[in-house]
């Protein structure tokens, strides 16, 4: 069997996680990584977030803008656009359905 590990699970929901991390506030790459880790996804890697953001941008779900900085490099901010918000809502619903199904399934097995 495939042993459940967070890295494997992350692959399926990383898009959704990145969209969710941008829901309330725009952010640049490393910033988003930190939000995800602070939220508890400690195993998520920088490369994964970088790759995912690029992919979401290419899919037309994100917009970007560059914020100059006096100290340090310019920062490329990502923001959800309308399509991104719609996708977040749609995928979020799917996730909720999936998660509650799994929860029910596990609860049944445990009480049985």
């Amino acid at each position: 069997m495939h042993r459940v590990d967070t890295t494997q699970l992350l692959k399926g929901v990383l898009d959704l996680a990145c969209l969710a991390a941008l829901r309330d506030e725009d952010g640049y790459g490393y910033d988003i990584l930190r939000r995800l880790r602070t939220s508890g996804l400690t195993e998520v890697g920088d490369a994964s977030v970088y790759g995912t953001l690029r992919r979401l941008f290419n899919a037309g779900l994100l917009t970007t803008y560059v914020v100059p900085s006096d100290e340090g490099p310019h920062r490329k901010y990502y923001a959800l656009n309308a399509a991104g918000r719609a996708e977040l809502q749609r995928s979020g619903k799917i996730w909720h359905g999936f998660a509650s199904t799994m929860n029910d399934l596990l609860r049944e097995r445990e009480t049985a």
Partner: protein, 349 residues
Amino acid sequence: MITTAQDEINLYVFAVRAALGDLPESLRDELLEDLPEHLAEVVADGEGSLAERLGSPEAYAEDLRTTAGFVGGFPDPPQRAARLIEVRDQALVHLHRLDARLGPLFGAAHASEFLVLLRPAWWVLRGYLVAMVVAWMLDDSGQPIGLLPRIGGSEVVALLLLAIGVLASIWFGRRSLSLTKWPQRALYAGSVILVLVALAGFSEADSSRRDANYTDVNYDNPYSNIEDLFVYDEQGRLVTNARIFDQNGSPLRLGNAYCYDGEGNYTEVQTLTYPYCADRDPFRMPAASASADPGAGDASGAPGANGPGPVDPSADPTSTPSVSPSLGSSASPTPSSSVKPGSVSPSAR
């Protein structure tokens, strides 16, 4: 040796690029397009070397590779053609299963093995069909071709053409197994057309055999187109509710006992008296027209127009006014029985 942050970033990116060496150049460039800027943000936001914080460039490249599975957007929805292929593949799976299940019925592992044995039979049939199609295209004699490939009605030509067609088909069949893709498809398409031709020809031959009997009967019966009978007395007046019998006293049932009633409905006439539909009187007299209403057969408004008078269908035929073809006028109870009903031609009025 790393001197500046920028050098460190460049080195890191270089190593990542190297680890992605198996990817197409354009894809790799696209993946790494923003990486130096991104790493600069990372460096600016924390302490420690990139390798310490992000892991080895090789691991980083591996992560990138998995998350960048669909560079250029989300995976496209499956194309129509791909979906068709999927449907076809599923159908093939079922077909193979059926093939194996039916195999024992034919004494083989697969039913298709039995079909392969039948292949030469198809070749012969195909030769015949091709000969028929050729004859049909070349024949301009205008005569029916029949079931042999006749050209100009010649049996000799037909047999010759048949032999050539069958031999050619067998010769071709033995070689068609090694055809390449497109000729093979053309062959299948041709076979489908031939099968359709065969089905059309078969159904035509079948129906002409069946219809032969029908046409004979219709040809011999000159009364097949009679719908109704109209009997006139010597005054040329229409006799309604006439009853007609043969020499054995059996009532004659002729025509089509359906009629439009007063409300315009097409209903079956229940009584065996003629005419069924008095209002279709082909020689209607103005005075009698009122009496020709089928709903009022006795037509009291026109005395005398009804000849022998109302007929009770349940009454004994011998005691009711009736016209019997073979007995002639002798059995006719019309007032002047010396005159045959037949002698009163409707045209005489």
